[in-house]
Subunit: 306 residues, 2 copies
């Protein structure tokens, strides 16, 4: 293996650059609203830079969050990580977009780097799509894009990370996946036979893909007409998104339990969500069709979807 020359500070700086790339791309795409920047400091060490966009032409609410934090490993942190350590360094970029139009998908991306004093380090990440209405051709296109990005690092990664995402983005109490999935990976380190530069390249490609994918979907869907029926369904789907994030999401749980910055962690929650008792769409409706696609193990790369 090559000598590791990539320092934690350098990875942090690159993460910050990735935040710049993503927020600039999304602001340009929105065309109406601008991101506001909210820098913050962590009492225990480090801090972050939250970028928020609201009431845009495309984005009702979106966050592109950067953080680089460090400090002593608390007892609770050690228990949650199931690892010993004296001090840690963690940096990453997280994005969640809640579009105004129900025909645009909710989209999420996260790339992160973690290091413990003593040399243990790993990368994690993921990108996944939650359409309010699943369009199979668009879901298939999305999976082809992430497969192509994974292949540049390792051809074994897409199938492995796609299954990981199916298992991770799963709302057990609803027996529904959060959306049509994507990729998810965690704790990839030297045992993978790859360098930090390799993992950084993967993270950066995922970050760039995020903007490209959302731009592509905006071109297809942003001007499609919709009415109150679609808005009501969007709010119910946002309710499910909220359930996933508050009940299952490991990053949210870890953040809240280790006294992370609440406002930055919960920026993923939607601008307006609803819950109705026992809402069951008509069997042949487009809402019921969407529910049919929210299952684990769908192979979006088979020709039927393309």
């Amino acid at each position: 293996m090559a000598t590791e020359t990539l320092s934690q500070e350098e990875i942090g700086l690159r993460m910050m650059g990735l935040q710049d790339h993503i927020s600039a791309g999304l602001e340009n795409l929105d065309g109406k609203a601008a991101f506001s920047t909210d820098p913050w400091q962590r009492p225990g060490g480090g801090g972050g830079r939250s970028r928020i966009i609201t009431n845009g032409a495309l984005l009702e609410k979106g966050g592109v969050m950067f953080s680089a934090v460090h400090g002593p490993v608390t007892e609770r942190m050690a228990r949650m990580l199931d690892l010993p350590g004296t001090t840690f360094y963690a940096t990453g970029v997280s994005v969640v977009l809640h579009p105004l139009s129900p025909h645009m998908p909710i989209m999420h991306m996260n790339v992160r780097y973690f290091e413990l004093e003593g040399g243990t380090w790993w990368f994690g990440g993921g990108i996944d799509l939650t359409p309010h209405y699943v369009v199979p051709e668009q879901a298939a296109w999305f999976h082809h894009q992430i497969k192509a990005v994974c292949n540049k690092t390792d051809p074994a990664y897409y199938p492995r990370f796609k299954t990981w995402a199916d298992d991770y983005f799963y709302i057990k109490h609803r027996q529904e996946t959060r959306g049509i999935g994507g990729i998810f990976y965690d704790r990839l380190g030297p045992a993978e036979g790859k360098t930090k530069e390799d993992f950084w390249a993967l993270a950066e490609r995922i970050g760039h893909l995020f903007v490209d994918v959302y731009t592509h979907f905006a071109g297809l869907n942003r001007h499609l007409p919709y009415g109150q029926t679609e808005v009501n369904w969007q709010r119910l789907r946002r309710g499910r998104y909220t359930e996933f994030n508050l009940v299952y999401d490991a990053g949210t749980k870890f953040g809240l339990e280790t006294d992370g910055r609440t406002e930055s962690i919960l920026v993923s929650l939607p601008p307006l969500a609803s819950w109705e008792y026992n809402n069951i769409p008509e069997p042949t409706s487009k809402e019921a069709q969407t529910l049919g696609y929210l299952r684990k193990g769908i192979d979006w790369l088979i020709p039927a979807f393309c």
Copy 2:
């Protein structure tokens, strides 16, 4: 101690009667919408009767839920209860109301009975108030009512259960209580030196108080005028309510993790909730005043509040 003559079946029937009393009282109070009844069966044994009201004159969404379930104690259940057991019986009534008007409070109540084969049994319960806008006189009145109800069973109960509620209904990551509290108790059994009839009497009084309290607040607040500012604040407070229920509420967690009936468990979630990044009310606003009251340890019985 007196011989226990109250069977689990009898307690289940009384719970069902309590559901009838509460739903009839609330329907009468609403004056426009009626409850719909949704009976359901639990695959493992037992079932329940969900009563839902929506789009009422007073209640935008409300649930009065009864269940009486039994069956083998699963491994997960034993772990969550931290108790061994072969079979269990559980019955209870839960109520959550989300009013249309931001001047009416969200209100919750739960009374429950649990029994394990072999003779272990306990009662639990609680009643608490979550005003969108805290009116100190009304909060004080509420606490006086629940103290009076507790005193009929044991004068030591109000202070003990009030503190328990402060600790239980707490949103740690916001450093806010859910509302102005009330009472909460759990696992009260023979060690309290009381009979099942004693605990049932407490449960029934709490159930009856629920209707009386909501009727009282409706008389005071239901016709107060409000605009978009108050509605927006109400949606944010409902967001906090959602955070509490999905992240901390023990009943919700237990239900979801033991494959309870999702629709009945999550009926507590609001009809429309919102999240804004870093919403901080103006220092002298009525919204900021409300936040000032969402703290543990406030003694609502001191003369200043009455």
